[in-house]
């Protein structure tokens, strides 16, 4: 493919959705109205087509010439002041192409689903404008060639997320959730900002091709001289990733973000935006390999998040929230894998590949599960509490089988996609357990991962059984005849289900397609991974035990669930109340900040304004003292006169006496 065609493709990928967003924003409310989705579809489909073309054009021929050379399109000079020269460039390599194809593909399916789901909503054009804007921002985020541009679009996707969580802004809970998401994300952004400054100070540049290019000797000298700074940079980068990818303790925004329309939850808060943090850490692998401390932190936070979120998901009754906590937990899995790169240089590529592969498969099956939940919600008259409906498998056969496919993939049933990617992660962790300097640490993390995997299988199938099995029961909001999803919603579900089932063994460890493609990314190398039969058996056993436990408790003998609930007591409370994180954060962070705010205002009023007003009163005070003497009371005058006369007499007498 010629270079100019490739450049055109790279411009079209973000350009088409942006154009769609602008056109819908301008003409949606008045002209397009209910037809707004066409423009959005067209824009994203163009981007998707171009992404696929880019995916094939960038490899393998492109790599044959120069393996480390990414495709770069020069944009325009954004800021040029003195020595600072920041351009808007698009940069694509293997990791970018994979992300782009995944993002645009899932977006397209979600946009199609959304046109059915959002039907009749008064904000229909606004929805598609925001989704198009999001696809543009997300494509730019992964196409970014420098940290500053990445930061810009990092914020932009956050804005889209804000706009879409708060889509039903009339609901106070949605408005509050949108704000919470943005503010919590800002804490992460603060970290990213810090990382950016440190990188700028250390490397003198923000370009990926310089900061992440481990080839040059100058680069290695910089690294060698600044080991501690590199660790700090990586920790700050990870703080940014924690915000966006909802890692403990910044995970509190993601469950609340479910206030947004379900297609948005599927697209932004499951498949794409929340994985940006994983992408960032994976992208910065060349830095992270020099900061093993940071890698351990990444793995530890990932493990803690995965376990806590899985425990919380156990006892949620809101189907979407189960999925939200599951997303948090799975993102924790990806970070565990990224951290496992600390095992040693030869384990870096497998670890990063495992994380990216899980990111890839997770996008499909989690989007599927969310859209399935959306289909259930749509049919049940916007009721999402699993206690109020059950036995939907006969009424909604398509939703049922696609949801089952997604649940099985998430639980890690072989040979579905989630099975392979989770297995890769466990393999990376076990490598950390047997190699490198931190074996005990990774042994603990491995155990946490296994436990989390069991819990994952359990809560996923708990949700599945509660929704689709048991006696047929519908809430009154659903009306007389709960219906199956319309074709426009069913087709995306089916496509995603096929992908969730098959993508694992098409591109996964059986064929090495994914890993050998991804290896052409800066910081990664070609490896020849082998299959881990022992771990695969373990994974299968994990999935089976979790699913069986869920089956026993929620289908065969529901009394057991009640019994288990009573027996677990305290843990049940914790799980149901989400470990009281919101309350803890309110007491420890929000309340002190509020108090500080009140303090600054009262400082302003009393101290500063008090001083100012006092100065203002000074002239009056100075004039008051003499004024009091002139009070107009004759007696006073007489007294003063008497005193003065006496004093004068005394003075004169004394003066005379001295002579």
């Amino acid at each position: 493919m010629s270079e100019s065609v490739q450049q055109l493709l790279m411009w079209l990928i973000p350009g088409a959705p942006l154009t769609a967003a602008i056109l819908i924003a301008l003409f949606g409310p008045k002209v397009l109205r209910g037809q707004s989705h066409w423009l959005c579809w067209l824009g994203i489909a163009t981007a998707f087509g171009c992404s696929l073309a880019l995916l094939t054009s960038i490899t393998p021929e492109g790599f044959a010439v120069d393996p480390s050379q990414p495709a770069v399109v020069i944009g325009y000079e954004w800021i040029k002041v003195g020595s600072l020269d920041i351009r808007i460039d698009l940069r694509a390599d293997a990791m970018t192409s994979i992300m782009l194809s995944m993002v645009t593909g899932v977006s397209l399916l979600v946009a199609i689903f959304g046109s059915g789901y959002m039907h009749h909503d008064p904000g229909y054009p606004r929805f598609f404008a925001a989704v198009s804007l999001f696809v543009f921002s997300m494509c730019m985020l992964v196409l970014a060639g420098s940290f500053l541009m990445l930061f810009v679009f990092w914020e932009a996707v956050g804005l889209c997320s804000y706009l879409l969580i708060g889509f039903w802004f009339r609901k106070p809970s949605a408005a509050a959730a949108a704000k919470k998401a943005f503010v919590v994300n800002r804490i992460g952004d603060f970290g990213l900002l810090m990382a950016m400054f440190l990188i700028w100070r250390t490397f003198g540049s923000l370009d990926f091709d310089w900061v992440l290019n481990s080839g040059s000797t100058e680069w290695q000298m910089i690294i060698g001289a600044n080991r501690e700074t590199i660790t700090l940079i990586c920790l700050c980068l990870f703080l940014g990733a924690m915000g966006k990818s909802a890692q403990f303790p910044l995970h509190v925004w993601l469950p609340d973000a479910m206030e947004g329309p379900t297609p948005v939850s599927a697209l932004i808060h499951a498949a794409t935006m929340v994985t940006a943090g994983v992408y960032l850490v994976a992208r910065c692998t060349p830095l992270f390999v020099w900061a093993p401390t940071a890698q351990l932190v990444v793995a530890g936070v990932g493990a803690a998040t995965a376990l806590i979120a899985a425990l919380t998901a156990l006892m949620q009754y809101d189907l979407k929230r189960v999925m939200a906590y599951s997303t948090v937990s799975q993102l924790g899995f990806m970070f565990m894998a990224l951290g496992a790169a600390a095992a040693g240089p030869e384990y870096v590529t497998p670890a990063v590949t495992a994380a990216m592969f899980h990111l890839f498969t997770h996008a499909f099956f989690k989007a599927l599960l969310f859209l399935g939940s959306g289909s259930v919600m749509h049919s049940m008259g916007d009721v999402i509490d699993m206690r109020r409906f059950s036995g939907l498998r006969r009424v909604m056969p398509t939703t049922h089988w696609t949801f089952l496919a997604g649940a099985a993939a998430l639980a890690g049933v072989p040979p579905l996609s989630g099975f392979f990617s989770k297995d890769d992660i466990l393999a990376s962790l076990s490598a950390g357990m047997t190699h490198g300097d931190h074996r005990l640490y990774f042994a603990i993390i491995f155990l946490v991962a296994v436990l989390t995997a069991v819990l994952t299988a359990f809560y996923t199938f708990r949700a599945y059984f509660m929704t689709f099995w048991g006696p047929e029961k519908f809430p009154e909001e659903a009306g007389a005849h709960p219906h199956e999803a319309s074709p426009v919603m069913a087709i995306p579900l089916q496509i995603l289900a096929l992908l969730a089932i098959s993508i694992g063994f098409i591109v996964g460890p059986l064929t090495h397609r994914f890993s050998s493609y991804l290896a052409h990314t800066m910081g990664l190398s070609e490896t020849h991974p082998h299959l881990h039969w022992g771990l695969m058996l373990l994974s299968t056993a994990i999935a089976a035990s979790g699913i069986y436990a869920a089956f026993v408790m929620y289908v065969r003998s529901p009394a057991k669930a009640e019994e288990a609930r009573l027996r677990s007591g305290r843990l049940y409370d914790l799980s149901q109340n989400k470990f009281y994180f919101d309350e803890i954060l309110t007491t420890l962070v929000v309340a002190p900040l509020r108090r500080l705010a009140a303090l600054s205002v009262s400082f302003d009023r009393t101290v500063i304004d008090g001083a100012v007003d006092a100065v203002g009163r000074l002239p009056r005070l100075l004039s008051q003292a003499p004024a009091r003497l002139h009070g107009g009371v004759v007696g006073n005058y007489a007294l003063v006169m008497l005193l003065a006369a006496t004093a004068a007499v005394v003075f004169v007498v004394q003066a005379l006496g001295r002579q």
Binding site: W78, V152, F169, R170, A175, A178, I187, S600, D604, G616
Partner: protein
């Protein structure tokens, strides 16, 4: 040369001439005449804006020094000249002034009492502001500075809200105090430089380093800094601002936030810094620390407000803290040599950009508050909500402007903040971290405001029936400001291009001035050698 004089003078005094016409030719009596006065004023400010574009056209960004310099003798016995000129620091601010004034004139329809008097003062105010930005003579600068103060006092005191008198007097006293300090500093320079008011020559003397002693520079800098910090405003000289904003009518708030505050920053860049390089360097750490503290303090105070306008006012305190930091990140080594001039340049450029961005976004925010205040006559944040549903177009623009204030990338607020914090990292990582943590608090108070005002189920406050969508006039103001916020965010080079050569020269000359002064043997402060009140020249 003569052309330049005419162009600059017309730009400054066209509003004054128009005010005279208003005073003679119009009466307050009937609606027709009031409408005519409004359009007349808007027309005059529009023409002034066009004139400022002509200045921009003649301005050559590649040159670093003063351009279009025009001189006329004014008070020869005191060596006072009518000396005007523009450079890369004043050019963008002149453009900002004329644009914001024009938009404020369009926003002045809400004034219904004593329209003639209002319009006259409004136009005089524009003369004062433009004069400050173009004056190259210290005395002339001082005159324009005071000229601008009086109309503002009356505009707040007569057309303001219920506590207007308190606010106006507070504004007046604060600013007067600042003016007096500036006057003292001005006289110090005047008598130490052989009776010179020429700012360019004074800066040149400071660069040579032989004229102004170290002690004098420190004292003068402190005086000037307090004078300008009051205008900026920076903690702890900021408390006039919330009161003035709350009481001022909407268009005056727009000018106050959009232009007047910039005079503080401009004064520091034009006078305090070039005239006292040594003083600046001595005070640099304090300045950066005050700036960082202002950012956090203003954000916290904004977080606690329930009055919509007061909240926006405190956000100004917070945002202008970046300006102060950016200007002062002048790091020197043990031997007095400059460390990282690029960073300092970047800081000053960032501070300048932040002034422009804040001029657009805060004027916009005040306008947005005004639009809804005109309808429901209250500003209690707890009584809003649901405006998005009733006024979607208005809410959309408001959210753009609030996000610009929040510093969202792609909008104007982002660039200044990033530049400043990036440059301060070189100066002091601790202060940089404090400043950068402001982004979290800013997001918190702005998003909370959006939530309380625009989102939510429905409006429950008084006068819900009055919540109608913006009219064409309001739309055009909101649209222009939002468009400016987007354009500045996407193509910031339009502004950086104007200022970069001038700031580069500024940092270079200041470093020279500092090094020269540092090596001078200590001398007594000249003021104490001579009589503190030297005899006036004989006529």
């Amino acid at each position: 040369m003569n052309n330049d004089l005419a162009l600059l003078s017309w730009t400054i005094f066209l509003p004054t001439a128009a005010a005279a016409v208003l005073g003679v030719g119009f009466r307050d009596e009937n609606p027709n005449s009031i409408r005519a006065m409004r359009w007349f004023t808007a027309g005059v400010t529009f023409v002034t804006m066009i004139l400022s574009f002509l200045i921009y056209q003649r301005f050559d960004p590649a040159q670093a020094g003063m351009q279009l310099v025009s001189v006329k003798s004014w008070i020869p016995s005191w060596n006072v000249e009518y000396r005007l000129g523009v450079d890369g620091i004043s050019m963008p601010l002149i453009l900002l002034t004329t644009v914001i004034t024009f938009l404020s004139a369009l926003a002045s329809w809400s004034i219904t009492r004593q329209v003639r008097g209002y319009m006259i003062l409004f136009l005089l105010l524009e003369t004062g502001m433009l004069g400050v930005f173009m004056a190259l003579d210290f005395f002339l600068f001082y005159v324009f500075w005071e000229v601008m103060l009086l109309p503002m006092y009356f505009l707040i005191g007569i057309w303001g809200g219920p506590r207007r008198e308190y606010a106006a007097i507070k504004f007046f006293l604060y600013t007067l105090a600042g003016g007096v300090l500036m006057l003292i500093a001005m006289l110090m320079f005047y008598f130490n430089s052989g009776n010179n008011f020429n700012l360019v020559e004074l800066a040149e003397m400071a660069r040579a380093g032989t004229v102004f002693s170290r002690e004098m520079q420190i004292i003068a800098f402190v005086l000037l800094f307090i004078g300008f910090a009051i205008k900026l405003p920076s903690f702890p000289f900021h408390t006039w601002l919330p009161d003035a904003h709350v009481e001022a009518p909407t268009p005056i708030s727009m000018i106050l936030a959009g232009v007047l505050l910039k005079m503080g920053g401009y004064g520091i860049l034009r006078i305090a810094m070039p005239l006292c390089p040594y003083g600046t360097q001595v005070a640099a750490y304090a300045l950066v620390a005050i700036g960082a503290f202002s950012i956090i303090y203003g954000a916290f105070a904004a977080l606690a407000q329930t009055d919509f306008k007061r909240l926006v006012a405190y956000s100004s305190v917070s945002h202008m803290g970046y300006v102060l930091i950016g200007m002062a990140v002048w790091k020197i080594g043990e031997g007095g040599e400059l460390i990282g001039r690029d960073y300092w340049n970047m800081g000053i450029n960032g501070a300048m950009f932040q002034m422009l961005a804040h001029g657009v976004s805060s004027a916009g925010m005040f306008f947005m508050v005004g639009v809804v205040y005109d309808r429901v006559h209250h500003r209690d944040l707890n009584q809003f909500g649901g405006l998005m549903q009733k006024m979607p177009l208005y809410s959309g623009f408001a959210i753009v402007l609030f996000f610009a204030g929040l510093g969202l990338p792609g909008l104007c607020g982002f660039i200044g903040e990033v530049f400043v914090v990036l440059s301060s990292w070189n100066y002091s990582p601790l202060l940089a971290i404090i400043a950068a943590s402001g982004v979290i608090l800013t997001a918190a108070y702005i998003l909370w405001t959006i939530q309380r005002v625009y989102l939510g189920p429905e409006y429950r406050g008084p006068h819900p029936e009055a919540l109608s969508e913006m009219n064409e006039r309001e739309f055009s103001v909101a649209f222009t400001l939002s468009a400016l916020a987007v354009v500045l965010g996407i193509v910031p080079n339009t502004m950086f291009r104007l200022m970069e050569n001038t700031t580069d020269q500024l940092t270079r000359t200041m470093q020279q001035g500092y090094e020269a002064t540092r090596e001078e043997p200590a001398v007594e402060l000249s003021l104490t050698q001579e009589s503190p009140f030297p005899a006036l020249p004989n006529r």
